[in-house]
Amino acid sequence: MIIDANVQPHFRSNAEIRRYLPEAHQLRAVPDVEQQWYQAPGGDYRQDLYGQHYPGSDPETVSRHLFDDMGVDYAILNPLTRGNIADYLLNTSICAAVNDWLLDRWLEPDGTDRFRGTIRVNPEDPRGAVAEIERLADHPKLVQVGIPMQSREPYGKPMFEPIWEAAAAHGLPVAVHINGGNGVDYAPTFAGHAHTYPGYAAFMPLNYFVHLATLIVEGVFGRLPDLKFVFADGGYDILTPLMWRLDTFWLSMRDQTPWVDRYPSQYLPGHVRFCSSAFDGPLDSGEMQRWMDFTGKSDLLMFGSSYPHWSASRPDVIAGGLDDAQRDKVLWRNASDLYGLGAKENAR
């Protein structure tokens, strides 16, 4: 079995979102999903997917590519929204429109029962985000909450906690993914605004660690034992040395954060998952098995294709170099446990 934990479905065109916006927001300026400064060479999406409509916007084509060509059994759809918008109430409305569109165009008509979806929420509006979770959490095909990697505060800060409480109460993991659109954001990398796409693409995904570190250090995971975060842009390959640092400082300065009652790395198995990325891991696949077992990463990583992105990866490539047990965990077992998918197939 194969579960693809990271697929981005798109509107057929940017303007299609207006059909799903409430009247009060229908005539407002809404940024395009592609409105950003860093264009991948050759386009952001796989070249064979450009046509009359956006790549990844036709459920039948996406089904054929994922389920037939790549052998995927289940795909978690995590659509982008349109950046962190200064009018956070408009942004909440955009998130709701994306959710209604996902249900209308993808999940409700899906006869294959292989698509699962994400409840997109706007963390800059915690009250609106909680309301959106409450509105949709009981839908059987919505299996996680989705938020942008871009944020003006790390997600461990207390103002976000009501959102994580709502997600945890409904048993929904929170997936963090680099968003579409250029919002009201800080510089995308720790080196500021990169000049070129490689600088952006190499470093932007690593912002996950700021969120992860604060979720641990501020005690969020300690207070919410059922809360799970999925970092969907990869970055698992640098997890080990960064956790070594957190563990080291905790041994020395535990008294500043005494609510952290175990090594920071000990929160990982119960709270954190990653989606694979084409940019992660050693170039020499001979080093893969050993590296995966550092910090127990074999139990944290889930295959995510990033379809229809230009760097979309196939399951056999992501599993290249892994041993059989690691391969099973990465290609389906970890995602099956997290999302409760594929019990039928597993029983076979």
């Binding site: 041994l251 020395s252 535990r254 008294d255 005494p258 609510w259 090594y263």
Partner: protein, 119 residues
């Protein structure tokens, strides 16, 4: 074999005090914690620093309902390693972050106003 030896008179080791005894390879620190006596090896379980030269004080525990969310506790029984700030409880030898990273403790007793260490 451990032997019992005289450290000092109890008057010379008041509450909050520590006497470093030249015994064994690294020495042993004898502490008076609010009137009770304890001893730990002068050797941090991390990288071997002279642990007993570190400051003695309290530590913080989580207090979710109080404004600073911290509470000061165990005053006078926590020694902090002078090299990397690791905290040890001198009454148990346990590291506060990771109890498996402990340091050795020794018997101390008082007889006729004199403090004795068995190390």
């Amino acid at each position: 074999m451990p032997t019992r030896r005289l450290v000092c008179s109890l008057d010379e080791l008041p509450p909050g005090g520590m006497k470093l005894v030249d015994v064994g390879k690294f020495g042993v620190g004898v502490y008076n914690v609010r009137g009770a006596l304890y001893a730990i090896v002068n050797y941090c379980s991390h990288e071997g620093a002279p642990l007993c030269l570190g400051l003695i004080g309290g530590t913080n525990e989580s207090a979710p309902e109080s404004p600073g969310r911290l509470r000061r506790v165990r005053d006078g029984q926590i020694v902090r390693c002078p090299w990397h700030n690791w905290e040890f409880d001198v009454t148990t030898g346990q590291n506060l972050a990771d109890p498996t990273r402990r340091v050795r403790t020794y018997q101390v007793d008082v007889s006729d106003g004199e403090v004795y260490l068995t190390a």
